[in-house]
């Protein structure tokens, strides 16, 4: 395994934001994580995204970018950027339903853990990344994986994608095409 299994995503059009991401599989303590998250424990202030619906990095980039745009123009539908990212990944209109299907739930075993950082506080991103990774390793009982397209598409569950995205006849096993459909859903969300 690589030395550095977490990643920092960046957007040229939003230079102040850094997006910390790490991918965990075989997570054993989802119920505990969820209850701490609901309690508002600041060590759990991340977006926990169910890995089974994720196919590619492009999907994440597309959803996060949309959220940052909506944040800039004050058009977010939910309270925080983290919920908004989950909301934008999902096709459902109801925020709770999105969180149940695309966020963390007792049945999820693979988690993409993501945190939006607004780097005005002077901390260097490298330090911050190590700090966050340490917190996650302490609190998440699972195996950390390299966050890349290979991991995502391998861990994705196509039947879940078909069901949760309500694809019906438009579902296809051609991953590049499926990827395009999912990105379309994110980009057209809310219109």
């Amino acid at each position: 395994m690589s030395e550095k299994p977490s990643k920092v995503l960046e957007f040229e059009s939003f230079p102040n934001y850094k997006i910390f991401v790490a991918y965990f599989i075989n997570v054993q303590n989802t119920d505990e994580i969820k209850s701490e998250l609901l309690k508002g424990n600041t060590d759990y202030d991340f977006a926990f995204i169910n890995g089974e619906n994720l196919l590619s990095l492009e999907q994440i980039y597309s959803a996060v970018h949309k959220c940052l745009l909506d944040e800039r123009f004050n058009r977010k539908k939910s309270k925080t950027l983290h919920t908004e990212i989950i909301f934008n990944l999902a096709p459902q209109r109801n925020i709770m339903e999105c969180l149940n299907k695309f966020g963390i739930s007792s049945s999820s075993t693979d988690l993409l853990v993501l945190k939006v950082l607004n780097l005005e506080d002077g901390n260097s991103i490298q330090e911050k990344e190590q700090e966050l990774l340490a917190i996650l390793k302490k609190n998440i009982n699972g195996d950390i994986m390299e966050f890349d397209d290979a991991t995502l598409s391998e861990r994705a569950k196509l039947p879940s994608i078909k069901k949760n995205y309500k694809l019906g006849d438009t579902f296809t096993e051609d991953l590049s095409k499926l990827n395009r459909i999912l990105i379309g859903i994110t980009q057209l969300k809310g219109l």
Binding site: R75, K177, N179, Q187
Partner: protein, 278 residues
């Protein structure tokens, strides 16, 4: 006027390089080399998006000062959204068009994939530019040999008709067909580098199963060809309609084809707009 509009886009997209390539009454079209959210070295799962060429189209609908402000915002948002939805729908249907990448409907912005290539004279590969180039060659050749209406042009125009037929069979009408709203792309699968036409600019498209609307689509294209390619238009139109018929034949929907063509004859007599006198 136009300088002001360009300033507005630059404000909305400060990190994009913008090259204006077309300006109409409704929208401005730019080329940019930056993807709105993917890093430069990222290779998309979607192999048909050629990351190396890294060119993207930005379509911007500026606010129209002649409309009431609130109404203008609604119209801009709904037209942008409707165009994006149709692009997305067509991608799902496997109909070749530029793919949607990102959008900001309230500001009238759509970012999509760039298709097409540069012609020999450096122009963008729209059907119009392609045909103009051939027509010019033909004239300088003293009409000999026939490059502007040879077999390759024939197959191109037939394919245009086929694409349009396929679109109509999905019950989508384009709404603004001209030879500059048809882009030629190089078929990546064929080694001979065959070009094939692709319809673009779905800004005025809508869903309709009416033969009337489809006939008007054909009529608008016919008129556009007549005014941009006056010398060869009759021949072009004939080929285009042949291809259009092919598309229906392939789907065994000749009944619907007959109806559209009958309508087309009516539309030719009265023009694009229906008489309001009942």
């Amino acid at each position: 006027m136009s300088v002001e509009i360009i300033k507005r886009v630059e404000q909305l997209l400060p990190y994009h390089d913008l090259k204006l390539i077309s300006q109409g009454a409704e929208a401005l079209v730019f080329i940019t080399t930056k993807h709105p959210y993917l890093p430069k070295n990222y290779k998309s799962l979607d192999l048909s998006t050629d990351a190396d060429s890294s060119k993207y189209i930005i379509k911007y609908r500026p606010p129209k000062p002649y409309r009431h402000e609130i109404l203008d915002k609604q119209i801009t948002k709904s037209r942008t959204a409707s165009e994006a939805k149709i692009l997305n729908k067509l991608t799902i249907l496997n109909f070749k068009t530029p793919k949607l990448i990102s959008m900001d409907a309230p500001h009238g912005l759509i970012i999509m994939e760039y298709i097409g290539y540069d012609l020999n004279n450096g122009d963008i590969s729209s059907l119009k530019n392609h045909l103009w180039l051939l027509e010019k060659q033909q004239e300088s050749n003293n009409y000999n040999p026939n490059v502007a209406n040879d077999a390759s042009v024939e197959s191109l125009l037939k394919m245009v008709g086929e694409r349009l037929g396929e679109l109509h069979l999905y019950d989508i009408v384009h709404g603004d067909l001209t030879s500059s709203n048809i882009m030629l792309i190089k078929d990546s699968e064929s080694e001979t580098g065959n070009v094939e036409p692709t319809l673009i600019d779905f800004g005025l498209s809508s869903y309709s199963s009416l033969s009337e609307d489809k006939a008007v689509d054909l009529y608008v294209l016919e008129r556009a060809l007549i005014s941009t390619h006056p010398v060869y238009a009759t021949q072009y139109n004939e080929w285009m309609l042949e291809g259009y018929c092919q598309a229906y034949k392939a789907q065994k929907s000749m009944k619907r084809h007959v109806e559209v063509i009958r309508r087309l004859e009516g539309v030719r007599l009265r023009g694009r707009k229906r008489s309001l006198l009942g």
